[in-house]
């Protein structure tokens, strides 16, 4: 039955996570924005925090105790958690030990044995290459089976947590002749010979996060380190499977954007209230101040971002195919979040251009959320192809 109110336990989770973010992350947000790439030791306490836990069974499947109401699943909890933590700081969220996007991939497709071996490791995600950004299907990194080992060769860029992670989920092609169908993902542990971290990038935002480039030169890993089946199907089903990872990670990135935009708006609201500009959600926007109207419109957008994210997450929990909704949530949240953080700086005037406040930082941080895990353009492409039933050759 339709009900868009968060259950109390999710509300409490939100409050709890926000409190944690306020107490632990906010105070050090600026510090690690300036100390780019330095590992935030303050985050050690979070090792093994279940940001990235195995999805529960379908909400319905849990036999509810008599009278006990159905509960939302892990994707909804994640949406609430990630937003709250990123309200504190998205760069630090990306630095939480064990909360890498690679972990999301492992959680999504790993066997129980692999969960056993890698579930507790901090896993980064390595997809992008110098020559392939949006076009994940064109990656050049190869994996060749040699006896009981895969031999990987290639270069990976824009790897989040490159320096700090214990392992990296590397996308590589086991059969270039088969094109996309040959693309599989492999878990490569740090310290594996031939696996080297080449450099770390200086970025516009999320500077607390160590984004780096890896070289794989005749890098040998155990046969069992492949995620999913090694078989190369004629169809691109296999690749679609790999891409399916994104159906989990995209709403997560949308949640990050909700968190950053929420932080930015909240700061503006606070300054407005200090200046005696009240928000009563009452008067017609034709009769309020410019500041109030801009605020209302941004808050409305934040609600839209959040609800689209919840929808995609709820569908995942209900085991409803959410490929389109996942992209919708990221397309909207990524774009609107960036615009909100930019607009807040405009409305803050001089306070929006100084590093004495975090507003300028949020405008830098939010921008990546409309880019990584698929740019806004790619999200629109996925949505449009789906709803118009067009192939990738028809709608390029």
């Amino acid at each position: 039955m339709i009900n868009l109110e968060l259950p109390d336990y999710l509300d409490n989770l939100k409050t709890q996570m926000k409190g944690f973010a306020e107490g632990l992350l906010r105070p050090i947000a600026r510090k690690y924005d300036e100390a780019e790439h330095t590992y935030p030791v303050e985050l050690d306490v979070l090792k093994g925090m279940p940001v990235m836990s195995r999805p529960k069974k379908k909400a319905g499947e849990e036999k509810p105790k008599k009278g006990a109401e159905r509960k939302n699943g892990s994707n909804m909890s994640q949406a609430v958690t990630v937003e709250s933590i990123c309200w504190g700081d998205v760069g630090l969220m990306l630095s939480i030990p064990g909360a890498g996007l690679g972990n999301a991939a492992i959680v999504a497709v790993a066997t129980d044995e692999q969960m056993e071996r890698f579930g507790s490791k901090w896993a980064a995600m390595a997809i992008t290459e110098p020559g392939s950004g949006s076009d994940a299907g064109s990656i050049q990194t190869t994996a060749v089976l040699d006896g009981d080992e895969w031999v990987l060769n290639g270069e990976k860029i824009f790897v989040t947590c490159a320096d700090r992670c214990d392992a990296v989920v590397v996308w590589a092609n086991v059969d270039p002749s088969a094109g996309k169908a040959g693309i599989k993902s492999f878990i490569v542990e740090k310290g594996t010979p031939g696996f080297t971290l080449e450099k770390l990038e200086h970025k516009l935002g999320i500077r607390a996060s160590d984004t780096g480039t890896f070289f794989l030169k005749d890098c040998r890993i155990p046969k069992d380190n492949i995620l999913g089946s090694a078989e190369v199907k004629k169809s691109t089903e296999g690749f679609k499977g790999v891409m399916k990872t994104f159906d989990n990670t995209r709403p997560m990135v949308a949640s990050m954007s909700n968190g950053v935009a929420g932080a930015s708006l909240e700061f503006l609201k606070q300054k407005m209230e200090e200046a005696g500009i009240a928000l009563d959600y009452n008067e017609n926007t034709n009769n309020v101040s410019a500041m109030q109207k801009e605020y209302y419109m941004m808050e409305a957008n934040l609600e839209a971002m959040r609800l689209l994210t919840y929808k995609a997450s709820w569908m995942a929990d209900e085991k409803i195919f959410n490929n389109v909704e996942a992209s919708m949530s990221k397309a909207k949240a990524g774009r609107a979040g960036t615009l909100i953080t930019q607009k807040v700086c405009e409305l803050l005037g001089s306070m929006g251009f100084t590093r004495e406040h975090l507003a300028e930082k949020w405008m830098r941080d939010s921008k990546i959320l409309d880019i990584f895990e698929g740019t806004g353009q790619i999200q629109h492409l996925i949505v449009a192809r789906n709803i118009l039933k067009l192939s990738r050759n028809e709608l390029k």
């Binding site: 109110e5 009452n282 609600e303 839209a304 709803i387």
Partner: protein, 364 residues
């Protein structure tokens, strides 16, 4: 839990209105618009599905079901998917019934609801909007003054749906700075109702300007008695209704362009193969979802008896802006063809603007 799935009942009601619209309205909306009127039979058929009365207790002539803003939101989206003018005409009585059923005194319910909840559709409505620049539903120029036991109403209202045929209507007015609703009967002294107003859109819907000159109504005409109504809740329910109708219009515009874009060929290919067109359609799709979700969020709070002041305010604000954008895209994608009135996107472009410009055309 947070849940987006429809209950059996919600699904059933949604489907029945969806079918009604498909059978009666979808292919006739344009003709209705050009003709400037809605067939009474079409209104009566929707009425018989109980759109306005299901939430009223049986003793007052209703179905005795739960008074459900969510269910109303679902119904309004389906009706507006066919035609917003139709949605407003069909549910105009909700503007009268819902606030009374929700906030009226027992005597008022007894006295007013039974006649409004008959098997046959009779017009009951509300006069909320005002015609001046800067008009605002929360700072009304229309005033009510207490004078030996009764109230004297003065002011001008506009966009009152079907007011000229209304047996009774609720009029919003400021009483000592407090916003209230008063029942005004047809033909009351001091009440003047204009000819049908000419508007940007909703051609088939009759709206009227309602003028009150020292219009005297009895003490019990004040809804909620001496404590008045929860005016915020009245506005919230009407704003959820506006947002839900916006979602219906946007979905309609989206469905039209989805079909057109894959069928219309230019430069040797369907125009849907062009990112500029395809991306607009993608945006239409998720913004339509967003409007609906915001309306549902506010409705969920109302259903739980909580305040939805903030949620409903933002839902209507967002819907007002986005419905215009989406229905503009609808015309743009059809190009010259979209500028022709035979094409439904044209009507949607005009009707969509009402969401931002007008208040209280229906109640969720």
């Amino acid at each position: 839990m947070f849940d987006l799935s429809l209950s059996k009942e919600q699904k059933m009601v949604k489907d029945s209105f969806s079918k009604l619209v498909k059978d009666l309205i979808a292919d006739n909306a344009h003709e209705m618009d050009e003709a400037g009127e809605i067939p009474v039979s079409a209104v009566q058929k929707a009425w018989e599905l109980g759109c306005s009365v299901s939430g009223v207790p049986e003793e007052f002539g209703g179905y005795g079901m739960e008074d459900s803003p969510i269910l109303s939101a679902l119904v309004l989206e389906e009706l507006a998917y066919g035609d917003m003018a139709y949605a407003v005409a069909v549910t105009a009585p909700s503007l009268f019934i819902t606030p009374i059923n929700d906030m009226g005194t027992e005597d008022q319910k007894k006295a007013l609801l039974p006649n409004a909840c008959t098997d046959d559709y009779h017009v009951y409505t509300m006069a909320m909007c005002e015609p001046h620049f800067g008009a605002d539903a929360v700072s009304l120029k229309t005033t009510a003054e207490k004078k030996n036991g009764s109230y004297i109403l003065n002011g001008v209202k506009c966009f009152a749906p079907c007011a000229s045929q209304a047996e009774k209507m609720l009029v919003s007015a400021s009483l000592d700075g407090e916003n209230n609703l008063f029942v005004v009967e047809k033909g009351a002294a001091g009440l003047t109702i204009s000819e049908k107003e000419k508007n940007l859109g909703l051609y088939s819907l009759e709206t009227n300007t309602v003028t009150l000159e020292n219009c005297e109504v009895p003490a019990d005409a004040r809804i909620g008695g001496d404590k008045g109504v929860d005016y915020d809740r009245v506005l919230a329910r009407s704003r959820v209704a506006m947002a839900s109708m916006a979602a219906g219009m946007c979905r309609c515009s989206l469905d039209i362009v989805k079909q057109y874009a894959v069928e219309r060929e230019q430069f040797g290919e369907p125009i849907a193969h062009r990112q500029s067109i395809a991306f607009m359609i993608a945006e239409m799709a998720y913004e339509t979802d967003a409007i609906r979700l915001m309306a549902w969020q506010a409705a969920s709070r109302l259903e739980a008896g909580k305040s939805a002041k903030r949620e409903a305010y933002l839902a209507k604000l967002y819907a007002g802006e986005m419905a215009m954008k989406i229905c503009d895209y609808g015309v743009q994608i059809l190009g010259g063809h979209g500028y022709i009135r035979e094409m439904n996107v044209e009507r949607l472009y005009r009707n969509a603007r009402s969401i931002a410009c007008v208040e209280a055309l229906s109640m969720a």
